[in-house]
């Protein structure tokens, strides 16, 4: 690492602007506090459930209580007799919708129940309390059919999909893996398991929909808790056969999503149906306990990883085989074998997904889909190989750095994994590490450290944006970006300010409304890059053209990009302690170093990295959902039983660092996306640290006392 490439610290450069109002040179990159921070603090920032139009009614969905079957009878008499009851929508009377591309939205259209928790009715009333009471009073008869909710690696329904999530190939093969494994000096052949996981954003899914009929036809306005108002608008327009110009979706403030608000969800469809049916605005707020069933989950994965290496630790074979489930509603394949196509050079490689469609709720995007579970297995296996070789795990990774992306042969736009590993090692004090497992004891505690690499693709989607010069010298930027708590609104104002050559205070930015210029959703860590390019281009055109308004569409620019493998990289270091009395594993230190292109706001970036690593901590140590085989439903359905990390789980020594990375092949703004990479690799770093602490390999997540303690506690006499 060169001297001038000192990583920006957590505080980063700060710059309030010049005394004459001129733009500070550091406007992009500065730790500008989020623009809506005060509104959120004092409660004036309004979320979807907080829009209550005059005459608003309330809808409460009724979840199916069987895991597979057919509705044979509905009795809503008692519900409709309640004071304040307005309607009970079911497949018998709900508005017909055009068959959606996403079948999870095909609600109340027929009598089939594909999984437990599927919404089979919607009670609508004058108050939310009455709607809930009605929902409980609707009696539904089912013809129940036997269900299957258990995935295992010899499930007869397993098949190899053509594609996994994100359009990735279902399987790849390069060279002869079996021959290389047979000839390898050292091999690892291990099975890892990750349970179902749930996103559980703080704000439950909610929508307020208002359907009005006028002389120009129907009009639909929805306030929705969504990661992308443009796709929600397009979906609602298609379902209800409306022109997109007659539909407005607002997602001004969103209380987290982590993927499960990335696609339109049934609550907004139900709200729109109910508004159309009753002629009233209707609000639908999902109870926390409905979320696990109708807003997606990370599918469980069983991952077999086989690695072969020569005597010097150079990989000769990488074989990553993933078994997972999807629902009968639609195919979603967690693309956990995908990162192995990018990470390491090897003579031969094979990656494969197999999936079975079970009677389970439909899985979907959750917190770095593909990369988070896949890199858990790959990076834990790399650690096992390092131990097998008697080699430092960082050195093993350095020896297998590829010149080009292994599967595609494409050049990397930039790849600073090696620098992240080295810089992390320096900051963490890795050089002093005694590699022997199970030898560091402090009282009842066994202590260990571990490292893992992380990666996430630098995704990009076309976007539009408008910039306008005002008479008062300020600028108005409009784009339907979504701020799901990341700080996107603030960063886009910074992008605009830099392109315009003004301070951020001279920019007004409007986001979160589908009437604004179309933009892609906040997902795949691609929002800031996609929207930022459009904002940058609009502002640049405004400044250079001399006109008062400029609108751009980056579609052609995005399509014209050169063919590079574009990925962010990082390295995560963890120190854990395992209590030999209880088997409790707690975090002592956590440190990540990331190379993700240009960092646009140091304050917000740090929050993104730390938040991602905290999610990785949860994946490693505390979070798990289970499916009850008898009921077919998820068991942990609230925040008391689904254990996201608490503040007490996060260590005081918790650091995020990043390397300066100039990548000319990204966008004019230069960032790679930082929302998800923090979680990737973190679970493996914990797993590797736990082995270093205890000398025992734990391959099933999470590392809870029931599993870890079995090997640590005093055995029975």
């Amino acid at each position: 690492m060169n001297d001038h490439e000192v990583p920006a610290g957590p505080e980063g450069p700060q710059g309030p602007g010049g005394p004459d109002g001129s733009a500070p040179l550091t406007v992009l990159g500065a730790g500008v506090p989020r623009l809506e921070g005060w509104d959120k603090t004092e409660g004036s920032a309004r979320y979807a459930a907080e829009w209550t139009p005059p005459g608003c009614a309330y809808g409460r969905p009724v979840p199916a209580t069987v895991a597979r079957g057919r509705i044979t009878g509905i009795d809503a008499t008692d519900a409709l007799a309640m004071e304040g009851a307005l309607a009970v929508l079911t497949h018998e009377n709900a508005p017909r919708i055009t068959e959606p591309d996403d079948a999870t939205l095909d609600v109340l259209q027929d009598e089939w129940v594909p999984h437990r928790g599927w919404h089979v009715a919607l009670a609508v009333a004058e108050t939310p309390e009455t709607a809930q009471a009605m929902a409980e009073a609707v009696r539904i008869e089912y013809a129940e059919e036997p269900h299957d909710v258990r995935i295992h690696d010899d499930h007869p329904g397993l098949y190899q999909p053509d594609e996994a999530n994100g359009g990735a190939a279902g399987a790849t093969s390069r060279g002869d893996v079996e021959s290389e494994l047979a000839a390898a000096h050292h091999t690892v052949d291990v099975l890892y398991a990750i349970p179902p996981l749930h996103n559980h954003p703080m704000e439950p899914h909610a929508a307020t929909a208002e359907w009005t009929e006028g002389p120009e036809g129907a009009r639909l306005v929805a306030h929705d808790s969504s990661q992308g108002a443009t796709p929600v608008r397009d979906t609602l327009a298609a379902l209800f056969s409306l022109d997109t110009a007659r539909v407005t979706v607002v997602s001004e403030h969103v209380g987290g999503g982590f993927g499960n608000k990335g696609t339109p969800r049934p609550h907004v469809v139900l709200a729109a149906m109910a508004s159309r049916h009753t002629g009233r605005p209707v609000k639908v707020v999902l109870p926390r306990r409905h979320l696990p069933f109708v807003t997606g989950h990370r599918a469980p994965t069983l991952q077999r990883v086989r690695l072969g290496a020569d005597a010097e630790g150079r990989l000769t074979a990488v074989d990553h085989d993933v078994v997972t489930h999807t629902s009968t509603v639609k195919e979603f394949v967690e693309q956990a074998a995908v990162p192995a196509r990018t990470m390491y050079a090897s003579t031969a490689s094979r990656t494969r997904h197999r999936v079975a469609a079970l009677d389970v709720p439909t899985p979907s995007w959750m917190r770095a889909p593909g990369e988070a579970p896949g890199m858990y297995a790959l990076e834990a296996a790399m650690d096992e190989l390092a131990v097998e070789l008697g080699m430092d795990p960082i050195e093993l990774r350095l020896r297998n750095e590829p010149d080009v992306e292994p599967q595609t042969g494409k050049p990397f736009s930039s790849r600073r994994l090696a620098d992240c590993l080295r810089e992390g090692a320096r900051l963490f004090g890795w050089a002093d590490r005694d590699p022997r497992p199970g030898v560091r004891r402090s009282g009842d505690l066994l202590i260990g450290t571990g490292v893992a690499a992380s990666t996430y693709p630098a995704l990009l989607a076309p976007s539009t944006a408008t910039a306008e010069a005002r008479d008062d010298g300020t600028f108005h930027v409009r784009i339907n970006a979504t701020d799901i708590g990341t700080g996107a609104r603030t960063v886009l104002a910074q992008v605009a300010a830099e392109a315009l050559g003004v301070g951020p205070q001279a920019v007004r930015i409007d986001i979160g409304n589908s009437d604004l210029p179309d933009a892609p959703l906040a997902g795949g860590s691609s929002g800031t890059a996609s929207w930022g390019w459009a904002v940058h281009a609009a502002c640049t055109e405004l400044r250079t053209s001399g006109s008062s308004v400029a609108t751009v569409d980056t579609t052609a620019d995005v399509q014209a990009r050169e063919d590079y493998a574009r990925h962010a990289f990082g390295a995560v270091f963890a120190e854990v302690q395992a209590d030999t009395v209880t088997g409790e594993v707690r975090t002592r230190r956590l440190l990540g170093v990331f190379a993700a292109g240009r960092i646009l706001n140091a304050r917000l970036a740090r929050s993104q990295f730390l938040g991602g690593m905290t999610m990785g901590l949860g994946m490693a140590l505390t979070e798990h959902s289970s499916i009850d085989r008898a009921t077919g439903g998820f068991v942990e359905t609230d925040l008391a039983s689904y254990h996201v990390p608490s503040c007490a789980d996060v260590p005081e020594q918790f650091e995020a660092h990043w390397l300066a990375e100039e990548d000319p092949h990204l966008t004019p703004v230069g960032g790679k996306g930082i929302g998800e990479i923090g979680i990737v690799g973190t679970a493996a770093a914990f797993t590797n640290a736990l082995h270093h602490a205890t000398g025992v390999r734990h391959r099933t997540l999470p590392h809870t006392p029931d599993r870890v303690g079995a090997d640590l506690r005093v055995p029975a006499r």
Binding site: D444, S646, A648
Partner: protein
């Protein structure tokens, strides 16, 4: 939520007579559990009698050197009370191990004792549960087992009692003072909760309409040390996988003069380990003796398919805490973070 009526009681006597006059009444204190269960449709009271404002919010010293804790004393206040911290660290530690800061600020002593199991099947009105709906069946028996009971359960119910505080009170030989339509009576804290048997609908020995007015904690045995330790999968806001409360006093010669041992997270009630206590009392306190005593206690365990780990966890916790208290080292708190 079903409509209900609400009143604020002025005196304990008035609360009890109101209860008797109103079928379907429930006492409401901090509401941290009852209100949740009402939202879920698990509890469907016709009438709520708010007892949180009753003059039962003080911790008083008794003439014999013990403490009388009013039923409305908040968990956080009780945990912070100087006499509790000095004389009964096990109680302070147990309280602080429970729930979260916000919940402890709202939850009361009486309400803590009366909180219901967090068995997920009990909380899900769409599946059978004998505790919620007698005779409907036990979904947990063939369901997700990890957090269920290993001691004292029946085919009708395998739920555990979630309280940490109650485990400490059981070990402290505390007594629960009740006021009911037929007057006052006192029940030992260790006998306040019951095993499920064929009637898991009943969590406690409370008779209809009885109100907890206070909990009396006797003075600590001379020279006693006490501590609480809870194992859980996150560092805060998680129920015990297993927990242990220990009160220990030794004679001059090092033998055990007094020992009380209670487990949480293992049964339908705090599990007072009488068998282990009998084996230990009067004996020298060696690791060997502790192990033997705790294993004798846990010989009664009948783990389900998914929770055998609880037996070894409880054994490990108890032996560790007994020996650590004997050495004067354990403060019972969770291990220090770096």
């Amino acid at each position: 939520m079903k409509p209900f009526t609400y009143e604020r009681a002025a005196t304990p006597e008035q609360a009890v007579s109101s209860y008797a006059a109103r079928p379907g009444a429930r006492y409401l204190a901090g509401g941290t559990n009852l209100v949740d269960l009402m939202k879920l449709g698990v509890e469907r009271p016709e009438h709520l009698i708010d007892v949180s404002g009753l003059p039962l919010d003080r911790v008083e010293h008794t003439v014999d050197g013990g403490l009388r804790v009013g039923a409305a004393v908040r968990n956080s206040d009780l945990a912070a009370h100087p006499a509790v911290r000095r004389d009964h660290p096990v109680l302070s530690q147990a309280l602080l191990a429970g729930a979260s800061g916000q919940l402890r600020n709202a939850a009361t002593t009486g309400g803590n004792l009366l909180q219901r199991t967090r068995c997920p099947y009990f909380q899900d009105t769409s599946v059978p549960c004998n505790k919620r709906e007698p005779g409907s069946g036990c979904s947990a028996l063939h369901g997700s087992h990890r957090d269920m009971a290993v001691l004292g359960h029946s085919d009708d119910c395998v739920a555990t009692h979630p309280s940490d505080m109650a485990v400490a009170l059981a070990a402290l030989d505390a007594e629960v003072e009740l006021l009911g339509p037929e007057g006052r009576r006192t029940v030992p804290a260790a006998d306040f909760h019951r095993l499920p048997g064929d009637d898991p609908h009943q969590d406690t020995v409370l008779r209809p309409g009885e109100l907890i007015v206070s909990v009396t904690v006797p003075p600590p045995p001379a020279g006693a040390r006490s501590a609480y330790r809870k194992a859980r999968e996150r560092a805060s806001y998680a129920f015990a996988l297993a927990s242990v409360a220990v009160v220990l006093a030794r004679a001059q010669d090092g033998t055990v003069r007094h020992v009380a041992l209670a487990f949480g997270g293992l049964a339908h009630r705090p599990w007072r380990a009488r068998t282990a206590e009998e084996l230990l009392t009067g004996a020298p306190l060696t690791t060997e003796a502790c192990s033997r005593a705790v294993e004798a206690e846990l010989a009664a365990a009948r783990p389900l398919s998914g929770n055998a780990f609880k037996v070894s966890l409880a054994r490990s916790l108890a032996v560790h805490m007994l020996t650590a208290l004997a050495e004067g080292g354990a403060d019972g708190t969770s291990p220090q973070r770096a």
